[in-house]
Amino acid sequence: MLRHIRLALGVLLLTSVAFLISGSLSPANAAETTITGTLLTPAGVAVAGVVISATDADGVIVSGTTDDKGVFLIPLPAGGTYTVDIDVSTLPEGITLNNEEDASRSLLVLGGEKKILIGLSEGGESGIVAANSGTGERVVQLFADGILYGLVIALGAVGLNLVFGTTGLTNFSHGELLSLGAFTALAFNTAGVNIIIAAPIAIIFAAFVYGWGQNRILWRPLRRRKTGLIAAMIVSIGLAIFLRYTLVLFFGGAPESYKQFAGQAGIALGPFNTTPKALILGALAVIALAATATWLQRSRIGKATRAVSDNPALASATGIDVERVISVVWIIGAGLAAFAGIYLGLTQNTVWNMGQRILLVLFAAIILGGLGTIYGAIVGAMIVGIFVQMTTLFIPTEMKTVGALFLMILILMVRPQGLLGRKERVG
């Protein structure tokens, strides 16, 4: 019984601990009815000074202007149907709407904070390119974008795949490890710590609290109870929902950026346009992934991890402490996931459902590479990242996830064990 109580308490404590640090941080309240949103370029740079207006059925107009974070807020007198117009003439030069139809839309506002999404394009940046650049340049741009995106996916997918390999758990709350990492860094950052210092602190914190702690408090007791893998999978879904809305409660639902590097000027490397922060993060990601691979290949515990992935019973019989391996896997997985979250937070923004949005792409990557195979996650992630970006040559950018999901379903039909997986029954 004691263990039951500890289990339940632990689940509650797990997340609250992190947020206690940011105790003074109050959620973004919006008790009154508002329409809000954030205008960012594809590179994540805030677009300020854009006028957005809402007209109600009686023709009364209220409007808002985006601030230096790109956020606009239109206070409304009451709920109802509004026509929301974006004054396109106030957009900075070179920046256009993804869809011209976005300039005017009808919106039903029931009350509280209604967020609207406005997709912007910028000449030469991700996806939509100015008319004068050739297809060749665009291919180079998308390929390079794809590599950077693939690195983020790989950081997230390695942990997911290691946990699956060693424990068999299909962890639907892995996306929330990314969000938690990003938001922990945000909490430190909001408290006044520069993101360069906040990020490593958050990653270490995430590795030990969200990774080691989560395994210790939740998953290890469940394994001891002999909870089935499907039951555990459903538990992870519950955990994901719980964590996601905990983030909404503490940080509000609007996207936020870190204080530093939010609007960094782009640079051009030949035909490839990017930002310095994306390049540095990409390089760090390569180092982190290479270090993980070396660790798996060379170190004692790394070899043990591969052994447990291969056959837990046999590994245990040869004297490997399986539980210790699993603890280490959670620490590394959560740390890498937090890095991926901060990466996304820096290059785009932090939003409560960022982990949920990328989770299926992570699954696509590891299924492509081979569920449970260690290097499969990295190979699959790079392929998915590049594939997803390249498909935007043919399909709208808003649908790029479709490509990843389609690729996953396709690979399951022709080679269900994945590219690097061994042939075994998965059906």
Partner: protein, 328 residues
């Protein structure tokens, strides 16, 4: 605090229109997951199929709602076949990932700008979707209920909805007592044993997916008719997980599990929300704002799903032996 009003609002939601939508999805999921053991994480796709069938037929093509219901059934059957044929041979965890991915893929496709003319893009389809149904409303024009706070229109939806839900429950009851039901339960317990008896397991699984999907699509049709609006972003994967919570709460593989689960789930969720809102509005709780109530409700739901799965996977009325969630 007005407890009478809180109670009325709670009951209204516990058996109301939204609860009914989830109920249909849960009855369908009970056939797929409860009895056949298919881990279908894409149930929301079937609900969306039903809702969009109504939206497209009635609004885009300006045809009758009754035709839309038939189209909804055809579309959900096709969806089950497209989803099932490549995936039903996969192991449970793969099936879960593929079905959730397929439901997201579908949502991203229907909300895309490419099909805006037919499917309405990100704004969806909004208009007089259920007019044919509401025209049949036999209730007098000035009809109001003494206690519950439904409009005349909603009450008509609720009456027909519950009638249909009982009908489907009866259908499921009949199905699982038939030889067909024994085979699918066998598949859930031990697929290899059923194969060795010469049954085509794949076909049975596909049938379960089609039947469950069709029932869930009725939830979507009800949605479109009652709310007169179909919006792509309401069909998020979380919908499916709420349906799982409902089913596990009431007890999977129990004929009345979905009904019991739905009423209790919405009673708790709505009741908690109303009480908390009321406490905040009356100043008893000052560290939260009314907008926090929604998040806390979902947090509790997630926590509830975890605790339910850990401590009582068979739900309130379930039989633990009936639902041996695999030990693979």
């Amino acid at each position: 605090m007005d407890f009478g009003q809180i109670f009325t609002l709670t009951i209204t939601q516990a058996v109301g229109v939204t609860a009914l939508i989830y109920l249909f999805a849960a009855i369908g999921l009970n056939v797929q997951f409860g009895y056949t053991g298919l881990l279908n994480f894409g149930q929301v796709a079937f609900v969306a199929a039903g809702a969009y069938a109504v939206g497209v037929i009635v609004l885009t093509f300006d045809l009758s709602l009754w035709l839309a219901i038939i189209v909804g059934m055809v579309v959900s059957t096709l969806l089950a076949l497209i989803l099932g044929i490549p995936t039903l041979r996969l192991r449970a965890d793969y099936l879960a990932i593929v079905t959730i991915a397929a439901s997201e893929l579908l949502r991203l496709l229907v909300r895309s700008i490419a099909f805006k003319d037919v499917l309405g893009g990100a704004q969806g389809l909004n208009g007089k979707l259920g007019q044919d149904f509401h025209d049949l409303n036999p209730l007098p024009a000035d009809f109001t209920l003494p206690i519950l706070s439904w409009s005349r229109q909603d009450l008509w939806v609720v009456i027909v909805g519950w009638g249909l839900a009982l009908l489907f429950t009866l259908l499921v009851w009949g199905l699982v007592r038939s030889p067909w039901g024994r085979v699918v339960k066998g598949i859930r317990e031990d697929e290899d044993a059923v194969v060795s008896l010469g049954k085509n397991v794949f076909v049975y699984k596909l049938q379960a997916l089609v039947i469950g999907g069709g029932i869930a699509a009725f939830g979507g049709i009800l949605w479109a008719v009652a709310k007169q609006s179909v919006q792509p972003d309401t069909f998020q994967p979380d919908f499916t997980f709420f349906v799982f919570t409902i089913l596990l709460l009431g007890g999977a593989a129990r004929v009345f599990g979905p009904i019991v689960g739905t009423i209790i789930f919405w009673f708790l969720l709505a009741g908690f929300g109303e009480v908390l809102s009321s406490l905040i509005n009356n100043g008893y709780i000052d560290f939260l704002t009314p907008t926090d109530v929604g998040s806390i409700r979902f947090m509790l739901m997630g926590l509830g799903l975890m605790l339910l799965m850990i401590f009582r996977p068979q739900g309130i009325f379930g039989d633990r032996r009936e639902l041996a969630l695999d030990a693979r």
